[in-house]
Amino acid sequence: MTRAIHTQPVAEALAPAVRIDELHETARRVRIEVVQAVARAGGGHVGASLSAADILVGLYFAEMNIRPDAPDWTGRDRFVLSKGHAALALYATLALRGYFAVDELVTFGHLDSRFQGHPDMTRLTSVDISTGALGAGFSAAVGMAMGSKLRGTPERTYVLLGDGECQEGEVWEAAFVAGRYRLDNLLAIVDLNGYQVTGWPGTEPGSQTPPWPAEALARQWAASGWTVLEVDGHDIAAILAVLATAREMTGRPVVVIARTIKGKGVSFMKGWHSRPVTPDELDRAMEELREAQ
């Protein structure tokens, strides 16, 4: 989409190149874990997890103030995966960040696993709030940011939403309240991958119109009292730069609209929502992800 009204300029990439390469390598490993977990479990939201991988790695490996060895540290920055169906990308990111062993991801899809289809705080301490019902996590994130303001403590709250999710009325209830309370310690990212499950038909047979008309989404956030920034959601240097810019902004909450590709990293998974991965598809996906190294 083109730059929307009210959009402010984004700072140049700030992080050293070598570190950015490492982060992209980590995001590649997240994608491998996601695809393998879906293949093992016989299902899962693969497309949304792949579109969010670079954003999650940027947050957990560079932006957020966290202690993986003390997930309930009260001074930590909060993260809410409001698009809870991207749970596997979050689990893989947390595992690689050291919250728990990567090996534990094999329990996904089985009884007694800590990794539910949508993030569950009652099973996994490193999940700051349970999500899964679209829109609800965003409200909780507003509550967290409000709580930090009331406590007078400096931690920030980050929340990741989907573009399809932004059709939920609750999103705009929450955005309005965050705007009214001028929650400048709250940072929302919209994973704008342009797909939802059914959507509205596009002009080509079998195609789909994106969840939001171009620019309408940015206007909606701006009208709710938010500063709107945009970024390429697969360029980690750019993601970190825009987050650094947002951190310096005061007086209003900031939303970053991240242009992404649903299924990013595996060409034939573009637009995939929730479906199994066959052994043949797994082989082909691994081949593409290995080549990306």
Binding site: T74, R78, D120, M121, T122, D128, I129, S130, T131, G132, A133, G135, A136, G137, F138, S139, A140, A141, V142, G143, M144, A145, M146, G147, S148, L150, R151, G169, E170, E173, A174, F176, V177, R180
Partner: protein
């Protein structure tokens, strides 16, 4: 079974006023208490809290779904949010948020359902929550309470401070005569016998207990001495007291300001079916939506006024083929 002779006197205060005055008292000691409002507060109600603690009164606007979610987020930050809204909007409009962010997380959010039940002013069926108990008690992890007077309202709030899980507090509109003196202490999962008798057991909750007590003279005039069991805790239920009441009287009547489907009457039947089956007569709103009218007209038309309760019980007793009232014997076989 706990016993407390009802003081049954005085006009009592508006329960919403008792709620607000107590919350202000408690908030002076406990900085983690917050009050969230969805544009229902007035200067005489939650506005009192806003005046006392302007920073801890969080206006969420007319948007109950987000309000419940914000409360959950605040609870994760160590706060104790009391979420005030009309019961109908909190329970039905925000049902999904209550389910996923409050019940499923187990966070200590307190949902204060104002104007619960039939009496909501002249607002009518859109605002009358007559199946909220059915909805809320079916939710795993939810505690469902309803106070019978201002003393119980205040003590429930004191008790709620350190309870670790979610609570739905069903708060009826208006005043209720005093049931208890100031020594009364609410206990989770415990009922209280407020009138001694043994011919029938009447089980009720909320301010409906006052209407039941007001029906007792008419019953006694007909030779029926009822045991009246008041249940402030609808979930968890005092199953032992329910069984004991059934054993004493042999027949049970439930009375509630709620649909006869899914609420107190259903809950009592669930307990008795498993533990001590006896005939049960459920009095409440008869599976219909009500309408806009004055409180007296509404409780009379929909069958929960004192006189309607007395008539219903007497008719039921008379209709039972095995009753032996005329001969002065116990009605049931207990």
């Amino acid at each position: 079974m706990r016993h407390s002779e009802a003081v049954a006197g005085g006009d009592g205060r508006v329960l919403r006023e008792a709620f607000n005055r107590t919350l202000i008292e408690l908030a002076q000691e406990r900085p983690e208490i917050l009050l969230l409002d969805a544009d229902n507060a007035t200067p005489a109600t939650e506005g009192l809290f806003a005046e006392a603690f302007p920073d801890r009164f969080l206006q969420m606007g007319a948007a109950e779904q987000n309000m419940v979610g914000v409360a959950a987020g605040l609870a994760t930050m160590g706060f104790r949010p009391y979420v005030s809204s009309y019961a109908c909007f909190q329970v039905y409009r925000a049902h999904d948020q209550v389910r996923v962010l409050v019940a499923q997380t187990g966070l200590p959010v307190r949902l204060i359902g104002q104007s619960a039940g039939l009496l909501t002013g002249l607002t009518g069926k859109t605002h009358q929550s007559i199946d909220d108990v059915a909805v809320m008690r079916a939710m795993p992890g939810m505690t469902v309470l309803t106070p019978g007077d201002e003393v119980e309202t205040a003590d429930m709030l004191r008790w709620s401070l350190d309870f670790p899980g979610p609570i739905y507090l069903r708060l009826p509109r208006g005043t209720a005569p005093l049931l208890f003196d100031q020594t009364y202490r609410f206990e989770l999962g415990k009922g209280v016998a407020v009138h001694e008798g043994g011919d029938i057991a009447i089980i009720s909750a909320g301010i409906q207990t006052s209407r039941v007590l007001a029906a007792v003279p008419a019953l006694e005039a007909a030779g029926i001495r009822p045991l009246v069991l008041h249940l402030p805790s609808l979930k968890p239920l005092d199953e032992d007291a329910i069984e004991e009441a059934a054993r004493i009287a042999g027949v049970v009547v439930t009375v509630e300001d709620h649909s006869v489907i899914g609420g107190l009457g259903s809950a009592v039947c669930e307990v008795l079916a498993a533990r001590y089956p006896v005939p049960v007569h459920r009095i409440g709103i008869a599976d219909c939506y009500a309408e806009s009218a004055s409180p007296d007209e509404l409780i009379e038309r929909y069958g929960i006024s004192s006189s309607a309760v007395a008539r219903s019980i007497l008719a039921w007793v008379a209709s039972r083929s095995d009753h032996a009232l005329a001969s002065g014997q116990a009605i049931g076989d207990g």
